[in-house]
């Protein structure tokens, strides 16, 4: 035992590691604010798609990273929400907010239904069933007359109120602000969740289901909770995406898109709280900023993913963490010398 421990009770940082959360949240706000510096519609467009992918990966990270359930259904849940939103706008006079809420609500209900069906299954089956579920959803929309079949539905501009609280004179700035606010709120909630009782329980279940259940955590309800919460985020992402493209169409939620979300998250660092931020930036850089042809983007991403998986499992986030620990150790070492 070291002398330090004898003088005072051992401090358990335990449930809370709030400091890093605050930094992450600050980083999120900062990154979101970046395009406002230039204020050009081009940058707003880039950043908006980046934010949308940050939302998708946030949703995937909640269910896969935190709770360990490899779900391929997140974009399907987004599709449920987005289509519900547009259909409600077109066919009822519930208004945009009501339509959005019912979209997100339905996505949560769908994820709950899927939990009941799928969560009893082990990993392999779960992944395949969720993928099948996501594709079934798009198949339904692609064949449904009311949902515009394969050509999808347009979001009529007239049904939306003018958003004008952020640089109203500049292009997409107001819509970008809406996306940024939604993302930051969802992100903050997810950080809070990770440190909460339920979040810890999710990590317990992910790390070792047997041990977790021997300590009184119900694996099934914990996983269901994670799935439903991630469904809420996916639902919000789906609606924002529909608003951004002013369109819902089955292609937006196809296998390619599902796998893209998986690749972005793994590249950024599966399970790391910083992953959605990194994934959003990654997407923006790779798919918007870099002057690469559309066909080769996915290929480049694929190569990076394979390299990362083989050479640096843990993704970018863990590399960053390793650097942080290194710096901290050096600093701690320096302090010790000063004490002497």
């Amino acid at each position: 035992m070291s002398t330090r421990l004898e003088t005072r009770t051992p401090a358990i940082r335990g449930v809370t590691r709030r400091r890093s959360d605050r930094w992450l949240l600050a980083a999120a706000v900062l990154i979101c604010a970046l395009p406002a510096i230039w204020g050009s519609p081009l940058y707003y467009g880039w950043a908006t798609t980046g934010l949308l992918w940050a939302m998708w990966t946030l949703s995937l990270n909640m269910v896969w990273g935190t709770a360990g359930q490899f779900s391929l259904a997140q974009l399907g849940l987004g599709a449920v929400s987005a289509y519900t939103f547009v259909l409600m706008l077109d066919n009822t006079d519930i208004g945009p907010v009501g339509a959005a809420l019912s979209g997100i609500g339905l996505a949560a209900v769908a994820s709950l239904a899927m939990s009941v069906a799928a969560l009893r299954l082990r990993n392999f089956y779960f992944a395949i069933l969720t993928l099948a579920f996501a594709l079934a959803i798009t198949t339904v929309f692609a064949n449904w007359e009311l949902a515009g079949r394969t050509s999808g539905l347009l979001v009529q501009r007239s049904v939306l109120p003018e958003l004008s609280f952020w640089r109203p004179s500049v292009g997409y700035g107001d819509f970008y602000a809406l996306c940024a606010v939604v993302f930051v709120v969802a992100y903050a909630a997810s950080l809070f969740l990770t440190r909460s009782f339920a979040g810890r329980a999710m990590q317990s279940v992910r790390d070792d289901e047997k041990l977790a259940s021997s300590l009184g955590h119900s694996p099934l309800s914990i996983k269901t909770l994670a799935f439903v919460l991630s469904g809420l985020v996916a639902g919000a992402a789906g609606i924002l995406q529909a608003l951004y493209f002013r369109l819902v169409v089955p292609e937006l939620y196809d296998t390619q898109a599902i796998l893209l979300a998986v690749m972005l998250l793994v590249l950024a660092g599966l399970g790391s709280p910083a992953a959605p931020l990194i994934a959003g930036v990654l997407y923006t850089v790779l798919y918007q900023v870099l002057p690469v042809s559309g066909e080769s983007r996915a290929g480049i991403l694929g190569v990076i993913v394979v390299l990362v998986v083989v050479l640096a499992p843990g993704g970018i986030a863990s590399q960053g963490r390793a650097l942080l620990t290194f710096v901290r150790r050096r600093r701690a070492g320096a302090e010790k010398e000063n004490d002497v």
Binding site: L121, Y125, A132, T139, G302, V309, V310
Partner: protein, 283 residues
């Protein structure tokens, strides 16, 4: 009768696509999403050779050989390094899909391709009009799958394969060179994927999305048949092929597209170990 014939035809293609995937999953324990990518790549390669006036069957053999080589290379360079990590293997295979998809789009573009049909014409049979090339495909697949199944269950090397699938550690202790067997299994799986891809290509046009359609169906079949069971895979392929063919024949086309998913959901809920699987089977 028409529905039965097209059911068998689908079953033949699905069976071939799923068989290689079962071997890879059983032996390497990797959910190889890239199986479909290799399958479609083989079809494109064959088409390319045929365009350069190489005889069809030579092109087919060349492509199968090339894809088998790609498979071996992938196993040695990527999947071997992520052996003990399911997630990493799966994600690596997703990366491979992206790479292959990107290559296909850049080399061959988004337009659909096709391969020369095996035969033309049709025969009347109990009032049903059957295409000869489809019958040929059913025959070829039946022969190939029977041979592969017999080989795995009877031949010495098939036993080695099963031993590694059942328990790599004790296989290793019994003097089996597990690593080599794994590479071989992946190579064989890739070759089977290529074989399936070429046959599919002769029967219909294809584009880059062919791979993902077939890989999902192959996964469904594996689950239907009970994971890791090659016999079950063949049974699962027949069930799925039939279900789909009858769905197309008797249901609305939109509903028919959901049939495979419905079958999957039903089986998973009622009998998660698969129709032919045993409860205690290793997964």
């Amino acid at each position: 009768m028409q529905a039965v014939a097209s059911g068998l035809f689908l079953a033949a293609l699905y069976g071939l696509a799923a068989f290689g995937l079962t071997i890879v999953y059983g032996v390497l324990d990797i959910l190889n999403f890239a199986h479909g990518a290799l399958l479609v790549l083989a079809a494109y390669l064959t088409a390319e050779f045929v365009l350069h006036d190489v005889p069809f069957w030579v092109s087919a053999l060349l492509s199968i050989g090339l894809i088998a080589g790609v498979g071996a290379l992938l196993e040695l360079s990527v999947f071997r390094r992520v052996e003990r990590d399911h997630t990493a293997g799966l994600v690596a295979s997703i990366g491979v899909i992206a790479i292959v998809g990107s290559i296909i789009l850049q080399v061959w573009g988004p337009e659909p391709y096709s391969l020369p049909r095996l035969a033309t014409g049709s025969v009347e049979f109990f009032g049903a009009n059957l295409l000869i090339d489809r019958l040929l495909i059913i025959g070829i697949a039946a022969v190939a799958l029977t041979a592969a199944e017999l080989y795995i269950s009877r031949a010495g090397w098939g036993k080695v394969l099963r031993a590694v699938a059942a328990d790599p550690d004790s296989a290793y202790l019994n003097g089996i060179r597990v690593r080599r067997v794994k590479t071989a299994a992946f190579t064989i799986g890739a070759a089977l994927a290529a074989f399936a891809g070429i046959l599919i290509g002769t029967a219909s046009t294809f584009d880059a999305s062919l791979g993902e359609q077939f890989v999902l169906k192959a996964f469904i079949i594996i689950i239907l048949g009970g994971v890791g069971s090659t016999k079950g895979t063949i049974g699962g392929a027949i069930i799925l092929g039939m279900a789909e063919a009858f769905g197309v024949a008797y249901l609305d086309i939109a509903v028919a597209q959901l049939v495979p998913l419905a079958v999957l959901a039903m089986v998973l809920l009622v009998r998660p170990q698969g129709l032919f699987g045993k409860v205690s089977q290793r997964v």
